[in-house]
């Protein structure tokens, strides 16, 4: 049993005033994080990776599934229990600047923690504590205390937020894209700081879309796509021997310094994208698909299906460069009875309201199989 255990966590977003449509953002995601372990959660925008982070942080509720921390169910926590939970589980977000209320000085983030968790502590004891954590994140107190957020650099802001988390007896840190907004020259420092924290026994969920960063820092890697795990396992195995087509395509798209974008064999899955030579071809047909269109998670319309959608049943043809083809992937195999896949989206067939349970059942991800010890991959359809 890991310290943090996710068991078939699903999230379905309602949209529209009266929950007009249901959109599964996470589909039965299960994995665990141990003490002193960095797990990187890799996915592109819309893959649901940030939603997962928010669910673990209890900032947004899961629609189904269980999150347990040290054996206790997290999803039901509230009031005092939640207060205690935050003593051990903390998060840092993507945009350091917006994590600070612009009206207050930056160290208010410390002050809030003091008010809530260390109310009884003497002033000097508290200040000593603050100094210790600042040292851990290699910040000079004189540089960062008593300043407004905009007076700090992005790297300082981000490290200050990590320091804030460390004030508490934190065991698990959710780091959501924490370095994507930093300059290249400071990114590595923040990464290295995470490594040193991990060595002290902190568990870290490192959420990113950058494979090279994920690879650099993590022990385990989870690749998320359309809200479902497509591949996971020990990082060297996932990166050294990627099994799923999506993982492979992601890896070939990563821009590298010393290697040009390698052609990727799209034909492996019958999807005939002419990406390899980089040549572009005019899209065929009116419904030329685009990467993002497909990337959008499936949406189940609750209202009746529009005739327009019903008419466009045909599967779309991929057109452009590699990227477009990456996301333009075939729909999962057996057609579910209620929904229909079109242009990367699900549309309802039935003319009645779809319940949450039905959406969950029908959006169930393909099963994971173990291709080698410590390396799971989703069955490709």
């Amino acid at each position: 049993m890991s310290m943090l255990e996710l068991d078939k966590v699903s999230k379905v977003f309602k949209s529209g005033t009266f929950g007009g449509s249901l959109k599964p953002a996470l589909r039965q995601v299960s994995f665990g994080i141990d003490r002193g372990e960095v797990v990187s959660l890799i996915g592109e925008s819309g893959s649901g990776k940030s939603t997962l982070g928010k669910i673990v942080l209890h900032l947004t509720p899961a629609s189904a599934g269980k999150v347990s921390f040290e054996g206790q169910d997290v999803t039901e926590k509230k009031g005092r229990e939640l207060h205690e939970y935050y003593r051990h589980v903390q998060g840092v977000f993507q945009d350091p600047f917006s994590s600070y209320n612009p009206l207050y000085k930056a160290d208010r983030v410390f002050e809030m923690v003091r008010q809530e968790y260390f109310g009884g502590l003497q002033r000097d004891a508290w200040e000593a504590k603050v100094e210790t954590v600042l040292e851990t994140v290699t910040l000079n107190p004189a540089d960062v205390l008593n300043k407004f957020p905009h007076q700090l650099s992005g790297g300082q802001q981000q490290r200050l937020l990590v320091a804030r988390a460390l004030l508490l007896d934190v065991k698990l840190l959710i780091a959501d894209e924490i370095i994507s907004m930093l300059d290249a020259s400071t990114r590595v420092d923040v990464l290295n700081m995470l490594v040193s924290l991990k060595r002290k026994g902190l568990g870290i969920l490192f959420i990113t879309h950058d494979l090279s960063l994920g690879n650099y820092i993590s022990d385990k890697t989870v690749i998320l796509r359309h809200g479902a795990v497509v591949e996971m396992g020990e990082t060297p195995k996932v990166f050294g021997n990627p099994q799923h087509r999506y993982t492979k395509s992601l890896l070939t798209a990563v821009p590298q310094l010393h290697k040009k974008w390698a052609p990727f064999d799209w034909s492996a899955n019958g999807s005939a994208a002419p990406a390899s030579n980089g040549a572009l071809r005019p899209a065929s047909g009116a419904a030329a698909p685009v990467a993002e269109e497909a990337r959008e998670t499936r949406r189940y319309s609750r209202s009746s299906l529009s005739p327009l959608h019903a008419a466009k049943g045909a599967k779309s043809t991929p057109s452009v460069g590699a990227g477009a083809a990456v996301a333009e992937e075939a729909a999962p195999g057996p057609r579910p009875s209620l929904m229909e896949m079109e242009g990367g989206r699900w549309h309802r067939r039935a003319r009645r309201r779809v319940t949450l349970a039905e959406v969950l059942a029908e959006s169930a991800p393909p099963p994971l199989v173990e291709c080698e010890p410590g390396h799971l991959v989703a069955v490709e359809e």
Binding site: L191, N192, Y216, A283, A288, V290, S319
Partner: protein
């Protein structure tokens, strides 16, 4: 020679004084060249890019000339520049995704933009549609509102619109930064494709991401604190950089396959100097591990090796030293 910039100086007005964001910059871009412009945030790279097409109210042209295809661009004259925008110089702005007016359909946006440039959309419509299809967008985007498109789609739509009149120079400002890897690749490949097809003659791709430039750029120019640090062809910059800043920048990038257990990377300590009151001498001096007394003097941006310009005393010394050694060896 497509673009030739000489001694360009651009300042920003602020309440606390002028910020020299582009300080005495000289470079040129050849026909058919994709030049990457790299640097950290605040180094002036966006200002440089923007100044070639549109000087904001707070920006001031302090000196220097910009020549495009042999003609001088009146960059400080907003009205005179209007004739050149989109026809000769065009830009894909940094926040193209949010720059699109949300209440106008893509087709209407293009029409209005072309109208302001004195061209009818109808004239270029067939070509417009062809290019829309080329970048993999459905024909129907012309009838769609920006919010109906995802980030990558919007980025492509702006790409098509801004290059409709086949400008001589295209400035692509951080066009890939907000995208996922697969879209980065798609957009990057489209940029080279546009050049190959002759939609644009030459291009300046501004980004903080050197690895993207390694993929698509022919030459790379690195800026630091408003000054040029180094310029050479892409392979040279990536494999044999001479400027310590470029070297540090490159070594702080984790590549796929690098893990902390095997190789602990290091960042660059410190922060770039304030441009309100920039220090004399080399601006990278405070962060540079090789700084020596000569660095108190400002290093000139000179060609140390064929096609390789650097502004660094240390690099100049090294190059001279190795040339001398070679000379000696040859003599022996």
């Amino acid at each position: 020679m497509s673009l030739s910039v000489r001694n360009l100086r651009i300042a920003y007005r602020t309440l606390r004084g002028d910020v020299q964001a582009v300080d005495d910059v000289t470079f040129s871009v050849a026909d058919g060249e994709i030049m990457g412009l790299a640097g950290e945030s605040g180094c002036g790279k966006s200002t440089l890019g923007n100044s070639l097409i549109y000087l904001e109210g707070r920006m001031r042209h302090l000196g220097g000339t910009v020549e495009l295809d042999g003609k001088v661009l009146p960059i400080s004259d907003d009205r005179a520049m209007n004739r050149h925008r989109m026809r000769d110089v065009s830009i894909i702005p940094q926040y193209a995704m949010s720059a699109l007016n949300p209440t106008k359909k893509i087709g209407v946006l293009a029409r209005d933009l072309l109208k302001s440039r004195g061209t009818k959309l109808a004239k270029v419509l067939p070509e417009f549609r062809r290019r829309v299809a080329l970048v993999g967008l459905p024909d129907s985007v012309l009838e769609m509102y920006p919010f109906e498109l995802s980030g990558g789609m919007r980025q492509r739509a702006t790409m098509v619109i801004s290059t409709l009149l086949n400008p001589s120079l295209l400035i692509a400002d951080e066009v890939t930064s907000a995208l996922d890897v697969s879209n980065q690749r798609a957009v990057g490949e489209l940029l080279t494709e546009f050049r190959d097809r002759g939609y644009v003659k030459s291009m300046i791709v501004i980004t903080h991401d050197l690895s993207i430039l390694a993929q698509i750029a022919d030459t790379i120019m690195v800026m630091y604190a408003g000054k040029l640090a180094e310029k050479a062809d892409a392979g040279t910059i990536i494999d044999r950089p001479l400027h310590p800043y470029t070297q540090a920048l490159l070594s702080s990038l984790p590549e796929v396959g690098v893990r902390y257990e095997e190789e602990e990377l290091t960042g660059i300590p410190g922060r770039p100097p304030s441009l309100l009151d920039p220090p004399a001498g080399c601006r990278f001096r405070d962060r540079c591990p090789f700084a020596f007394d000569k660095c108190a003097e400002e290093p000139p941006f000179v060609e140390l090796l064929p096609g390789h310009q650097v502004a660094c005393w240390k690099a100049a010394q090294d190059v001279a030293g190795s040339a001398e050694r070679e000379h000696e060896e040859a003599a022996r």
